[in-house]
């Protein structure tokens, strides 16, 4: 009853709008501006040096070691361009297999690994994607805002039969029934010294491992069952999950010219305060686990609050982050 009344109202509103525009709508009605096609290019750098599979990166981590890149992928969501009035305007994504729009949510996969050199592993693929394309209303755009992550309502969707780019098996994170938001992996020259701490009755045990993994993702994710034991779903049919630590990273570039610049992930900066030659517990590297000793310094670079009992939210909207920056094309 009330539903049909609502739709009646909506239809009436539509007719009203149609009538207005048909009549010219008066002299202060905004003229629908033509949309403008945009292409925002991403890249990975180490300081000012481009980074790619098969090339050595130097000065990595707090011990400034040389390393090879093994993986370099991340999801970007909530991409907006900031116009000269200071308004953040959402980029309406083109439809392709690297980017998805569902309702108000958007997500794109930036895939900078090409399965060559040290990136030649079973889970890597030759296909790459460095550009997010879409449209924005005409205007003068001077900055950019975005988040590294996957929207919560899409994060836990099915991998098997999932919608691209959320069908990527390597970015699946079955541990939290979600996605890796970022998968950046380094093989430091000389390896990583893994130490299992001494106990009251045993000495410390050490071994050498190869890869320092940085996997970002939401943690503490549990799904809901209602009182009758049925899985709780939202209106779109997605299972409702609650994550104690969303771990989505916000960043903004006050000055960004998409024609002359690209958005660079500075992996030198990302690892700069973490000793990537040591592994002292939890997953190898930092996989966002709340008690992983390699994570606090990584999350400090993300400017996301970290750990059990923390919010897992961006600190001051990521205002102090320096890992994403604008560089010349």
């Amino acid at each position: 009853m009330s539903k049909s009344f609502q739709s009646l109202l909506a239809v009436t509103g539509l007719i009203g709008a149609a009538l207005l525009s048909a009549c010219g709508g008066g002299d202060d009605a905004p003229v629908a501006p033509a949309d403008k096609a945009v292409a925002i290019t991403f890249a990975a750098v180490n300081g000012s040096t481009p980074v790619a599979c098969g090339t050595s990166v130097t000065g990595m981590g707090s011990k400034a070691v040389t390393a090879a890149v093994k993986d370099l992928r991340f999801y970007i969501t909530n991409l907006k361009l900031v116009n000269d009035k200071g308004e953040a305007v959402a980029v309406k994504l083109d439809a392709n297999s690297w980017q998805l729009t569902q309702g108000a949510e958007t997500v794109s996969l930036v895939d900078l690994e090409n399965a060559t050199g040290t990136c030649s592993t079973a889970s890597n693929t030759t296909a790459t994607n460095a550009v997010i394309t879409g449209t924005v209303p005409a205007g003068n755009y001077v900055g950019l805002k975005a988040s590294m992550g996957v929207p919560e309502t899409l994060n836990h969707s099915a991998i098997a039969g999932g919608v691209a780019p959320l069908d990527n098996a390597a970015m699946a994170w079955s541990w939290q029934s979600g996605r890796k938001f970022a998968k950046v992996e380094l093989d430091p020259v000389g390896g990583i010294l893994k130490t299992v701490a001494a106990t009251s009755s045993t000495a410390a045990v050490t071994s050498t491992i190869t890869t320092f993994n940085f996997h970002l993702g939401s943690t503490g994710c549990t799904a809901k069952l209602d009182a009758a034991g049925a899985v709780v779903k939202d209106a779109a049919g997605n299972t409702v999950y609650t994550c104690t630590n969303p771990n989505v990273m916000d960043f903004s570039l006050a000055s960004f010219n998409m024609d002359t610049q690209k958005v660079a992930l500075d992996i030198g900066k990302l690892f700069s305060t973490t000793d990537i030659t040591k592994e002292n517990g939890g997953a190898a590297g930092c996989m966002s686990g709340a008690t992983d000793p390699e994570c606090p310094t990584m999350f400090s670079q993300l400017q996301v609050s970290f750990g059990s009992g923390s919010t897992g939210l961006p600190i001051a909207g990521g205002a102090a982050q320096q890992i994403f920056k604008a560089v010349a094309k």
């Binding site: 079973a122 098997a160 990527n168 098996a169 699946a172 106990t199 009755s201 686990g289």
Partner: protein, 403 residues
Amino acid sequence: MIRRHRGFMLKLAVAGALAGALAGVGCGGGGGVTIIETGAGAGGGTGSGGAAGAWTWSLPAGFPTPAVPADNPMSEAKVDLGRFLFFDRRLSGNGTQSCASCHQQDKAFTDGFATSRGSTGEFTHRNAQPLANVAYSPMLTWANPSLLTLEKQMEVPLFGENPVEMGINDGNKAEVLQRIATQSLYQTKFSAAFPGEASPVQWANVVKAIASFQRALISGNSKYDQFIAGKGTLTPTELRGMNLFFGEKAECFHCHGSPNFNDQFVHATTRVLETPFHNTGLYNIGGTGAFPEPNRGVFELTGLPKDMGMFRAQSLRNIAVTAPYMHDGSIATLEDVLDFYAAGGRNITSGPHAGDGRKNPLKSDLITLITLDAQEKADLVAFLKTLTDHDFLTNPKFADPFK
């Protein structure tokens, strides 16, 4: 409070069945429950026709109708397809393993190992799950409250990379699906299971079919079930063990009291669901309460200190054939498991996991020191062995179709 009450009710029911059996009354302590045998050759789960095949549950006495996801209703054709896929080694990246490699029917769909070796040689962190009556489990695996459906859970063995199990990845997933799609056997079976779909050989349908087969794995025809139904007898030692099991001395039923002998049990008309996890004092590294990584229970997912060492109580159906025991397979025999519980935890005196689990600060208050003499332990083991459903372990409907 509720749990205790439920356990008490179960005890009453068992006592009633016992009294009925002892008095020689042929009603088996019933109450209008229809028993349909699901044993070997008895045609369990049949009673339907049509291409997609509507589904009729044939359930043991006392088993409620399972809850099934609305987007994956049961059908004969799906269960049939799922059985072939479950046993098909082509479904792993390198073609060396099937689901059944680690879930073997004669072991109640476990594999006899502490942890399981994946298709590329990596080992799982935890002991392979038995699959009997998995349709009634609201949460899946040992300690993951984010995995609520078999369809979602299956992404772990199929696509997981830490560790690699079936080894399907972005580089081979199209090829693996193509291996299936090119078989005329599968073309027929996918079309039957997913009628009306133009190209039904898709990963989403692979998952749906295997989940349907798993839900059909109903086990409820053990010696114990036959006894409760008034169709068989238990020996004196088995009866003494049963009374200990359901009694306040051994208190096993608190966590193993549902029709599936666990305490997470959901069905189509569940009204109040509990999904408890328990710390049983298996570890207490350095006296800090810690369990060894990466097996710290629900803590691995949540990072919350209260979740350290919290695991799901395992179903005890077919428990005699699912050794070794516990989430990490660290206890070899049923006798040793009973010793562990009787001691109120495990005291590890040397090695990297040293610590007195009996004093784990998060240990369940149901795990306390109890005195069981040798006869009582033997009685409990004898009872636990009555939970083996030999028909289930040999039912040709659940067997490898490629043999």
